[in-house]
Homo-oligomer: 306 residues x 4
């Protein structure tokens, strides 16, 4: 995404005038404020506001546990303790507000995370721009043969070219017709009335870009990141999650490090998996049949543990 | 929407075998169970399950208020009292699960109601059908000239024909290309791999049909109905809300009657509006300038009160 | 509530070091930050953090409605429009975090507002202080004879004295025994082990003070204030709501003014009430029998409209 | 808890009249409906209504994944797959409504689970009964010396007797005074007015019993059970969780079995823990220093893995 000079100027203007506040300030996050981090071909994420920092998490926890937290000597240790024991409410005490520009099919996945506040650009009120997500060639993947919701190899040569040509021409034709139905392409004084915007929009494909303000607390944001920054997430939402994660890391470095250790990099084991690992640690060789796991569980288990 | 004979048979089969239960039963709702109520050209709503009835609301309220509810002599009076005084939790004690088939742009409005549970058909896993919403000619409305999010007159003659032609041909071309990219139209052993479903879907316009299971409690359903069965709601979601409202009326007739009186048919007044009405009741003539209201408020006020 | 010198010093220290931020700043709210506003005999509310201001509401709305908002000429008009039409999401874009000290029976009412984040002092981990709410004599009210959940006249003379004596002595005895069971009153080297804190706390009455951090968005806070700053709310929670409302008024003055006009000072009418008012405006005299309302509805209706 | 003959009769009457329904029926849950399962000395849980069964979970998942679910051959495999991959929405399609009688201090922990619907008996409207939780001697535990929120050894002999005596006499005195302030103990025509119920209740300790209707979906119920049926949960809430779990097992046996395997009996590992286990599996001996874990993490890790 290339910002227009007007947008660049607006961002610089918003960043030009720091004001004094008595609130908690995260230097790392101040550096991100208002700046657009490009995602995909026309999208971005921008941090528009935030509340709290690492010490706000600690402060909230100490209200809860009172003297009970004194034995944890420092902030990092306490934050790691909270993350390890699934104490979610202290992380809810931080909040962030993002401005996101994203394709509609990504927005549809994203909105399934309900515990957040959203203001989306309304195509009932206003006209959408002619901007569509067209994948880069290296992201044009074939359907996976083993995973119903996954991707396989990258499409090559002619097939890739054909797909790109379809996506581009269908998007442009749809947009031409959208404009045509709205009547905005007829400035010649014709009697055309123009279809209502709330109807005309239905002609636009799911790769058209929309935008929204999305506000979420840190606990729910971590949940979002765990699912969407995961390798199994669809590439087009994963890159948004990764761009957000990079900001979160600068915002609350201690909490993010705990999240990386306990969630992103960790593993969840079933009772069966615990039993198999214990047998292996005791020197036993355990195969699929002896594990009691289904074929799918065993495949996932051995992918991690060999 | 016309059901296929297979679907009709499935519904009749699901309705053929009543089983005994000790739970609260609503005869009015049993008559709706599983049956598809057609909405728009290919959509429907179906009640798939429900919990509770009017007496469940009363029962929950009596737990809360104990002896305090005895002075309300009957169920109807108590339900009206609860509705009038915004006691929401007793209405939350009823729950309904719907199967809905609807265009994507309607689904996008609908999902903004967050306090509900949803399982939507996933176009990452599975292939969507060739079904698109094409408005009936009488619903092809022009953009309203006074209301940014509303409709004006119905499009006539050639313009209507042109719009319908666009919507149909764009939808079909998009679907042809969707299939083509998926590679399902090439059963000839060609080397084509087929684009991943999660990518190919982005070519489909917002009038393609999707479907979901949607589960919601009665309090939140009333909130949905108040906003979406309202004359200001977009026609295409309003008809869904109306079809659901007809089922709710049979399910919990006392609660629905109270909802109609206090919410659908009622009015909300600002402090300024209360003051104007009191002055009018005292015989005074109050015009816009003397009301203290903005132009928009005054227009809405006089639309109701003259 | 009188703060200890240590607490006063801590607050002044937190207020002593403004730092630069690029975020939206509300001067009105900065003046409140960290300061304790006394409520009841030992309670307080303190603003610990906030996000956004009036212009953040407007900004979020303009993202949603795009060019559609241009016809509303100014921020105040747009905020009033949003409030009038129940557009809740722009108000959700502001957030506030409070530190509250309050009696347990007030906390139990408060927590019923679920859309908020809470960290409460845990009496499993830590020992509660000897602080109990004892009503001022003018708040010692008799049970209302007409309202099951309301108060009647103030208790007088001997009865008031007797009640105060009971509340004080029961609270102190309960706390003495709480300490005794915890074993903290036996520093004489006795072999007593001390009951687990999570059990000992069960001896404490509902007027003991607890404290929590409570974080909520502005939309849900307005909902809380509408119910709890209402004359029908119990006095002991209403004074908290009023103290919070005073801060909100300084934080987002335009939004608060709209809230006062459309919610606090407004009225909700049923379809029946609309019909009666219209008949009255047309010169007709309508009595209870002709209104179609129940006794209770009629009483509430005439309380406002005469 | 011993039910009164009236209550027994009411339950039997509610169970006496099965009615036909077309909804999903769980035989296992029908056997529980309305019956009170005793918990603690005066508490109980009763299933009052439910929606859905194991096949409702499967049905919802198949709507989402369409043809994508066909490769999972049976219901059990699909339910295990959903649980393993944290697909929560199909489990949200089941709902249960419970009637629970419980001490106030347990209710205060319980209500922290926000995603549920509650109607609690209101002591503003009505008078509470003289029922208090008094622990059985074997549950009178000392404060743990190593765990700030845990229990240590059982109190013995004189100290136990002293604690029980305090709890009983304080509860009774508090209730006598509650009644006295309400004025219900003076039927002699005295001029006493009686303190408002909303005030008098503040004298009652946290072991007084309250009751509520609690309605929750299966996904959120599993979350509740994972935290509250856990050995680290306070005994007094754990016994409620266990009583509920026993009903859930009969209601949705396949989902419950998956929950037991993947949640209750499973384990969560941090990235550090995964690394240590891999080194151990490779034959290496890893001690605390080499693990990179904190003292607390290492203690928890070795508790499971040796």
């Amino acid at each position: 995404m290339a910002l227009t000079p007007e947008q660049e100027a607006e961002i610089e203007s918003a960043r030009a005038h720091p004001r004094p506040t008595l609130r908690a300030v995260s230097e790392g996050m101040e550096a991100h404020l208002y700046r657009a981090h490009p995602v995909l071909d026309h999208g971005f994420i921008r941090v528009v506001d935030y509340m709290g920092d690492d010490s706000a998490i600690v402060q909230a926890a100490r209200v809860s546990y009172g003297a009970g937290t004194k034995h944890v000597s420092n902030d990092e240790g306490l934050i790691r303790y909270l993350m390890r024991h699934w104490h979610s409410s202290p992380f809810e005490m931080c909040e962030v507000k993002l401005h996101v520009k994203l394709p509609v099919f990504v927005a549809r996945q994203w909105i399934r995370h309900r515990t957040a506040n959203v203001n989306e650009y309304s195509a009932r009120y206003s006209v959408l721009d002619r901007e569509f997500y067209i994948p880069a060639p290296e992201n044009l993947a074939a359907q996976s043969k083993v995973n119903n919701q996954g991707r396989g190899e990258t499409l090559a040569g002619e097939e890739a070219a054909r797909v790109l040509e379809i996506l581009k021409s269908d998007a442009n034709r749809a947009y031409d017709n959208y404009e045509g139905m709205l009547g905005q392409a007829q400035p010649d004084g014709s009697p055309q009335q123009g279809l209502a915007r709330e109807l005309a929009r239905m002609n636009l494909p799911a790769n058209v870009y929309t935008q929204w303000y999305w506000k979420v607390d840190l606990h729910n944001l971590f949940h979002f990141l765990r699912l969407r920054a995961d390798p199994h997430a669809q590439y087009e939402i994963r890159v948004y999650a990764e761009a957000i994660a990079a900001c979160v890391k600068d915002w609350v470095p201690l909490a993010y490090a705990a999240f990386e250790d306990y969630r992103l990099g960790g593993a969840t084991l079933s009772a069966k998996a615990v039993a198999v690992l214990k047998r292996r640690l005791a020197g036993e060789t355990v195969d699929e049949a002896a594990s009691g796991m289904s074929k799918g569980e065993w495949r996932e288990f051995t992918a991690l543990w060999g």
